[in-house]
């Protein structure tokens, strides 16, 4: 099981309603419904992945988060999850706004473009970095808006979004990110996991 999903699962209270935006094959949804008493729904853009989810009996709706989040009423979920998808949207800012409208709490995870390996790659090779989490070439990447943990942290502060918890994930290792260790964690984390509220 992806370490990220364990961390997300721990952030979620029992008996809550959860929406997984960009739920992919539904692995996180299945993990959550096996390990917690939760009512979990999914939104996914890829037909192939939606069919896979539905074949597994998951309540997944085919749709594009940039348009289709509108159909969900305000605060209709206890948690809305956006796992490693934010960078692929045309307008991440609007999507975040919608997530915070639909969910009482929002969990966003971002592949950290500030990781030292990426910085080293760019510094010494002078080429766009290709990593395990970001395996694409610059010309075919679906990732339109890459950011670092620091960037996202700043974004939340500028927009008045409350950050409840920030967790760093580096390989199997998780640790807390705080204002005082942010610069360092931004260097060593592969993934940043944020628990937000409006």
């Amino acid at each position: 099981m992806k370490e990220e999903f364990k961390v997300i699962s721990k952030l979620i209270d029992e008996r809550s309603r959860v929406l997984d935006v960009g739920c992919g094959d539904g692995i996180l949804m299945e993990y959550l419904s096996k390990n917690k008493v939760v009512d979990v729904r999914g939104l996914e853009i890829s037909k192939e992945k939606v069919k896979k989810c539905l074949s597994n009996g998951l309540a997944v709706v085919e749709g594009n988060a940039e348009y289709d989040l509108k159909q969900f009423p305000d605060l209709s979920f206890d948690y809305v999850i956006l796992s490693q998808t934010l960078q692929a949207f045309m307008s991440p800012e609007n999507v975040i706004k919608d997530l915070l409208r639909v969910g009482k709490k929002v969990i966003v995870t971002i592949p950290n473009f500030g990781h030292w390996k990426i910085r080293v790659d760019l510094l010494f090779k002078g080429e766009m970095p290709i990593t395990k989490n970001l395996p694409y070439e610059w010309y075919n990447t679906p990732n339109l808006h890459m950011c670092t943990i620091q960037d996202f942290y700043n974004f939340c502060n500028n927009k008045g979004i409350n950050i409840f918890k920030t967790i760093s994930l580096n390989g199997q290792k998780t640790s807390k990110i705080t204002a005082s260790n942010l610069k360092y964690k931004n260097l060593i984390s592969e993934l940043g996991i944020f628990l937000l509220e409006k």
Partner: protein, 377 residues
């Protein structure tokens, strides 16, 4: 048509109050079943047919000797796996395969009831079929399913009986019949009613029938069931058994010949008045209006799991209209899944061999059946 004797039916004794205000009682509802009802009676699926369907969803129709209309989907090992599930399908009231309809003989005149039959609605059809649950002593269906008008019945059923089906599968349908669809239905009705054999709907059904009108209605409707791309690929401008145009009005093109054939075989198995009544029921269908303009209200007490399916090339019941149902369900936090299946086969896709569609339903149903039993939802 002595094969009509082989049709199973129940007689609904208690009065059914129709939307038009009239009341009917002691009327037949013809049905067929596939597979076996298990001891717990928790594996029943009620399948609703579309405009020109009937209760013979699978196997061979004993009256027409044709394959069941949902043969691709219903049967052992198929999407609606009759080794696991007990599939029930009834002929809608207004239909012409043994249920109470305009073709039913009025014993006082010995002639078909014809246009003296009351105008019925999707709601009336569903309320009549609800009696099948009592007949089979089924407390709760595992699922209700259907495409096109069958999908409308699914929506109406779940709305009327919120906790009587655990799963609802409305396919390629709408919650509110569009102006375009009413227009196409009206075209078909006008074709029938302008046939001099129609006689204000009081033809005797033996010596003369409005076959020409009904055939034209079927031809027009058939075009709406296909996609432009599908038609172009299948027929293009191919000529019918000739190498050149004949400069006349015979069927020069294969598509013409195909449509004429579709029209001619249809009249052998369908009653023109049934076509009028059933298309009217579809036109009147507006579940949104039934609930004060808010479709969500139709499902507000529902504990049902919804799985909605549309097809990319279906322009008769397009994805946008199916999505309106999804949106209404999401607005009330209902349990809903939705996928648009990619295919060139148009609205007819739900009746055809579309592997993605059939396999997704099969897996969804078997997984959901297990999940419900394990978690005792």
């Amino acid at each position: 048509m002595s094969n009509f004797d082989k049709i199973k039916s129940i007689t609904i004794k208690q009065p059914l109050k129709l939307d038009c205000g009239k009341e009917i009682s002691n009327f037949p509802l013809a049905y067929e079943t596939y597979g076996n009802l298990n001891e717990k009676k928790d594996n029943a699926i009620l399948v609703f047919h579309a405009l020109t369907g009937d209760q013979f969803a699978s196997g061979q129709n004993p009256v027409t000797n044709k394959e069941g209309w949902w043969n691709y989907a219903v049967g052992p090992g198929k999407a609606f796996d009759t080794e696991k599930f007990f599939v029930i399908c009834a002929n809608v009231i207004g239909g012409c395969m043994g249920s109470y309809g305009p073709g039913t003989i009025d014993p006082t005149t010995n002639n078909p009831i014809g246009t003296n039959f009351p105008v019925i609605t999707i709601n009336d059809m569903v309320n009549a079929q609800y009696n099948l649950l009592d007949h089979f002593k089924i407390e709760r269906l595992f699922a209700v399913a259907g495409g096109s008008m069958g999908g409308m019945q699914v929506l109406q059923f779940v709305s009327n009986f919120p906790n009587k089906a655990k799963v609802a599968l409305p396919i390629a349908c709408t919650a509110s019949h569009s102006a375009q669809n009413i227009a196409f239905n009206e075209l078909g009705r006008q074709a029938i009613m302008s046939d001099t054999n129609w006689k204000d709907g009081l033809y005797d059904g033996k010596t003369s029938n409005p076959d020409k009108g009904l055939a034209v209605a079927r031809m027009a409707a058939h075009i709406t069931y296909l996609s432009k791309k599908g038609l172009q690929e299948k027929f293009g401008r191919n000529l019918q058994e000739r190498s050149d145009l004949k400069f006349g009005f015979d069927a020069d093109f294969q598509i013409e010949s195909y449509l004429r054939y579709q029209g001619s075989v249809f009249v052998d198995r369908f009653d023109a008045n049934s076509y009028l009544y059933i298309t009217r029921a579809m036109d009147y269908f507006d579940l949104t209006k039934q609930h004060g303009g808010n479709l969500s209200q139709a499902f507000k007490d529902s504990k049902t799991k919804f799985f909605i399916i549309s097809f990319t090339s279906d322009w008769l019941y397009p994805t946008s209209e199916n999505k309106d149902i999804v949106i209404a369900l999401n607005a009330i936090g209902a349990d809903v899944g939705f996928v648009e299946i990619k295919t060139d086969k148009g609205h007819d896709s739900f009746l055809l061999d579309v592997p993605d569609f059939l396999s997704t339903i099969k897996n969804y149903l078997s997984t959901t059946y297990l999940n419900i039993n394990e978690r005792r939802i």
